[in-house]
């Protein structure tokens, strides 16, 4: 090999970040959400520590409202040898029956933000890998690769450390923790190109298929199970759709598409004119500064 492509360089950088974290922190964990970014991050981690097994467990902070196909994918990954998967559900949210229909923003806050904090504290993890990318959203553009959180898991934009060269300052005091983003410099297109190159398996929901759907507030939602509530006048219609991002099914908007393969997804993305977060109801509460606000509160 005499020259490296952009994917080679992104891969090398991500592996460097994964190794640096494992070498310097006491108890890392990898957030695993079954999405394409998680799949790529897990693939990179397996490469980084080959021929050894993963030197950290995977953590799924569950909301009980993911797509069935996502749970199937999760259980498949968990069954692979040398993989330890922890599933955590916020007991309070479980107890109160928090759901996306009745509780609005509280659903995300209690299941995901609070659930994550509780899980990290419970197991004493001091660094958590996440699959977030800087190209996802404007306020992410300034996020560090190693994002520093205080003992209450809060993110203070003014206290983030400058990151020079590939010299990451991983030092922290007791109780403080890090969120580490190995895919910081990847774009959505890079992720798909890498999935194609490496033959990484992703949840079938990313590929177009006929699915039972309803249209609500401009989003196409999939009726994934019997818990989906229909408003008066709403009708379940079969549409050929796929998802660009995956989350809780009542909050994930689908796009109408014919793309049935990774190649077709890439081609469609280049021709299409919507950003992947457009289908995320979660970003919308609170206007354009909403993601930043969520991060300060401890959202991933």
């Amino acid at each position: 090999m005499t020259r490296l492509s952009h994917l080679d360089r992104l891969e090398a950088e991500s592996i460097f970040i994964l190794r640096e974290t494992v070498a310097e922190v006491a108890k890392p964990v990898m957030l695993y959400s079954m999405g394409k970014d998680s799949a790529v991050m897990l693939h990179l981690a397996r490469k980084a520590f080959f021929p050894g097994a993963l030197p950290f467990p995977l953590l799924h902070v569950d909301t009980t409202w993911k797509f069935k196909a996502m749970y199937a994918a999760r259980d498949k990954v968990a069954a692979e040898p040398g993989t330890e998967l922890i599933v955590y559900k916020n007991p309070e949210a479980l107890d109160k029956g928090i759901n996306p229909f009745d509780h609005g923003p509280l659903h995300t806050d209690m299941w995901k933000t609070e659930g994550l904090k509780q899980a990290l504290d419970l197991y004493g993890f001091d660094a958590a890998f996440g699959g977030a990318r800087r190209d996802e959203e404007k306020s992410r553009a300034k996020e560090r690769v190693f994002s520093f959180r205080d003992r209450n898991h809060r993110w203070d934009p003014k206290r983030q450390r400058p990151e020079l060269w590939s010299l990451y300052n991983v030092r922290k005091n007791k109780g403080e923790s890090l969120r580490v983003f190995p895919l910081s410099n990847w774009t959505e297109l890079d992720v798909w190109e890498y999935i194609l190159r490496e033959g990484i398996e992703v949840v079938p929901l990313y590929f177009a298929a006929e699915r039972p759907t309803v249209e609500r507030d401009g989003l196409i939602l999939m009726v994934d199970d019997e818990r989906m509530r229909l408003a008066p006048g709403e009708e379940v219609v079969s549409r050929k759709v796929r998802f660009r991002t995956l989350g809780c099914y009542p909050l994930s908007g689908a796009v109408e598409s014919d793309a049935g393969s990774v190649e077709e997804i890439i081609a469609e993305m280049l021709a299409s004119g919507t950003s992947e977060r457009q289908g995320r109801a979660i970003d919308r509460d609170g206007g354009s500064a909403s993601m930043e606000k969520k991060k300060q509160e401890g959202y991933f």
């Binding site: 190794r19 640096e20 050894g52 097994a53 300034k142 030092r171 774009t187 077709e264 004119g273 930043e292």
Partner: protein, 631 residues
């Protein structure tokens, strides 16, 4: 970009795209965000829903009336939106058919040298923006200087807002000539000036018809074709900083890291530094199979033909052309924290995968980044750049940052300094060279060593380090301890703060820097005495944790015994045996610990004496007992 006819061919071409990282810098009103927003827009990085949001944002926050404000595409955090300026480094991504680009977008504001340096540290090229109406400003020079300082060799001078000078060639030529003179002065050889309008899109992607007199490439054409540093990195000798030792079982021991420069193949002879031992590469292991060779920029795992010691922080290098190791250097330092540099204080220094303790001397000079004049300086404050000597507590493997003509040695030449208390990254720096001093003064091997000294005295040496507020009772207790030890036939020596200040340290005052030097000297003297086999007692306020830790590290494990004489401030002040607290309260004594200078209590002292519970005799008995029960 339209949907290509043959997706497979086209995808194959995409996979072999190269990566170029660049930085954009300009003054506040040069239109940098607009230019960058335009670049993203024209390369189709902006989706329809984002455009809709942009139109909405433009009406609410925009500066273009009813027009679309492209700058809003790249202005992120809400605080800066409200202030109307960019306040941090933001990273942007776009791609052409040939290359993927990572853009470090840094602000032009004067106080943000820190951000500019951060952005430049990973960039291969710098785009300097100037306003066609204003020409090369002080800030432009500063940005060019900073980018060059960080090792960037290729520059684009984007003369923006050409629409506001009616696309006048004369205006453009005058600015280019002005920059040429400056570039020659500071040694920028590889640069190009391009007339652009971010607002109207001229010469951003396509050549503009409105600048018919300009025959050069558009900004994107230039970014697509400019030479990259990668081949220069590969041509240099092998360097790989070991990140992590991969040892999944007894049969496998691999050394993981990213190759910083050169290439490596099975059979290559390598040297592991700093030990200097040599071996051959057995295999280049990756999850995709063993590689016949690997080059700079790849993350790999190497195995050796022989079992030799190698761990995180070591550097694997070409056996015939290894880098140097040293513990004293000259370096350029960029200060990045609100709290200024404290010469003599120990900071963590991270370089490659090595982390050591380093102390920085008073700067030789500070550089005025606007005039490039050298100014006298005793410290470095936020955003100051200076040249200083620094010493590390052990040898580190390094290369001069600036290299020779080719790309900079970023991995083994660039470092950060970390505050030991707050863990904040307080500075970055670039090593120039090792100081001859350290090279030429080799340690003399002594036939009669410290073990012999100690054995002759029949005791185990130690440093009993008493720390606490003025008037806490340190000297009183230390005196009694020494008396009791002498009575048991132990060889001791008591170094008292006040006494030392009459002699060895009479040139030092009570500023933070002088207090640090005071403790450093006492620590060195205590170490020499411990080497001579003595039990040394020291009674110094020694208010800073970092300095006490510095002394601890000078001594073999277990020989530094920190004794915290814990007396509440109110109690010490009430005793006030020397009348110092009264003077300090009256403002006659400055920097008095506990009054207007902090005392950092030990977190985990070997012995803590609570003087509200124990009297001096009881305290001394406790200390003697603890000392003598040591093995």
């Amino acid at each position: 970009m339209n949907r290509p006819a043959d997706i497979k061919t086209w995808l194959a071409a995409r996979e072999s795209k190269e990566l170029l990282r660049f930085i954009t810098c300009g003054s506040v009103d040069d239109g940098k965000s607009t230019l960058l927003g335009r670049l993203l827009y024209e390369t189709r990085q902006v989706a329809d829903d984002q455009l809709a949001a942009l139109a909405d944002d433009s009406r609410r926050f925009g500066t273009q009336g009813e027009g679309v404000d492209f700058a809003l595409l790249v202005d992120g955090l809400s605080a800066e939106r409200e202030q109307g300026i960019t306040i941090d480094v933001a990273y942007r991504y776009f791609a052409s058919d040939k290359r993927k680009f990572i853009v470090a977008d840094t602000p032009g504001h004067e106080q943000y040298t820190r951000n500019m340096v951060t952005g430049a540290s990973t960039a291969d090229l710098a785009v300097l923006l100037v306003d066609a109406r204003k020409g090369v400003l002080t800030q432009t020079r500063r940005h060019a200087y900073l980018a060059q300082l960080l090792g960037i060799r290729r520059f684009v001078l984007a003369v923006n807002k050409m629409d506001l000078v009616d696309y006048d060639q004369g205006a453009f030529d005058a600015i280019a000539a002005e920059f040429r003179a400056f570039a020659g002065e500071i040694g920028i050889a590889d640069w190009i000036a391009i007339p652009v309008s971010g607002l109207n899109g001229d010469n951003i992607v396509e050549a503009s018809l409105r600048t018919g007199w300009y025959a050069g490439p558009s900004l994107l054409e230039h970014l697509d074709t400019v030479t990259l540093d990668h081949s220069a990195d590969v041509a240099r000798p092998l360097r790989m900083a070991v990140q992590w030792v991969n040892r999944p079982n007894q049969d496998f021991r691999g050394f993981a890291g990213e190759i910083a420069s050169g290439s490596v193949a099975p059979g290559d002879e390598v040297r592991v530094l700093p030990s200097g031992r040599t071996t051959r590469i057995d295999r280049v292991v990756t999850a995709d199979g063993e590689l016949p060779s690997a080059i700079a920029g790849q993350s790999v795992t190497l195995t050796f033909a022989d079992e030799i010691d190698c761990s995180r922080g070591d550097v694997i290098a070409a056996a015939g052309d290894p880098p140097e190791s040293a513990d004293q250097f000259e370096a350029t330092i960029v200060w990045m924290a609100d709290e200024p540099l404290l010469p003599g204080r120990g900071y963590w220094l991270k370089i490659g995968t090595q982390t050591v303790t380093a102390t920085v001397q008073e700067p030789k000079y500070e550089i005025n980044v606007n005039t490039l004049d050298r100014l006298a300086a005793t410290t470095l404050e936020l955003n100051a750049i200076g040249v200083a000597e620094l010493a590390t507590d052990r040898e580190i493997v390094f290369e001069p940052y600036a290299g020779e003509g080719t790309s900079p040695n970023r991995v083994l030449g660039g470092f950060i300094l970390i505050d030991k208390m707050s863990n904040a990254t307080v500075a970055c720096g670039m090593l120039h060279f090792a100081l001859r001093r350290a090279h030429n003064i080799h340690r003399q091997h002594l036939d009669v060593g410290r073990e012999t000294h100690a054995a002759l005295k029949g005791q185990k040496p130690a440093v009993l380090w008493f720390t606490g507020l003025s008037g806490a009772g340190k000297s009183t207790i230390a005196n009694i301890v020494e008396r009791k030890l002498a009575a048991r036939g132990r060889h001791t020596f008591l170094l008292d703060g006040d006494n030392v200040r009459h002699g060895l340290n009479r040139d030092l005052g009570f500023t933070e820097a002088d207090r640090i030097e005071n403790i450093r000297r006492v620590g060195e003297v205590a170490r020499l005495m411990a080497d001579a086999g003595l039990i040394v007692l020291t009674a110094f306020i020694s208010p800073f944790r970092a300095e006490r830790e510095m002394v601890r590290k000078m001594l073999p494990d277990g020989e530094f015994i920190e004794i915290f004489v814990d007396t509440p401030l109110a109690e010490a002040e009430q005793r006030d045996a020397k009348g110092l607290y009264a003077k300090a309260r009256a403002g006659e004594l400055k920097n008095f610990t506990g009054i207007d200078s902090p005392y950092e209590a030990p977190a985990a002292p070997e012995i803590r004496i609570d003087t509200t519970v124990l009297n001096a005799e009881e305290a001394a008995d406790l200390i003697v007992a603890r000392l003598l029960e040591r093995r």
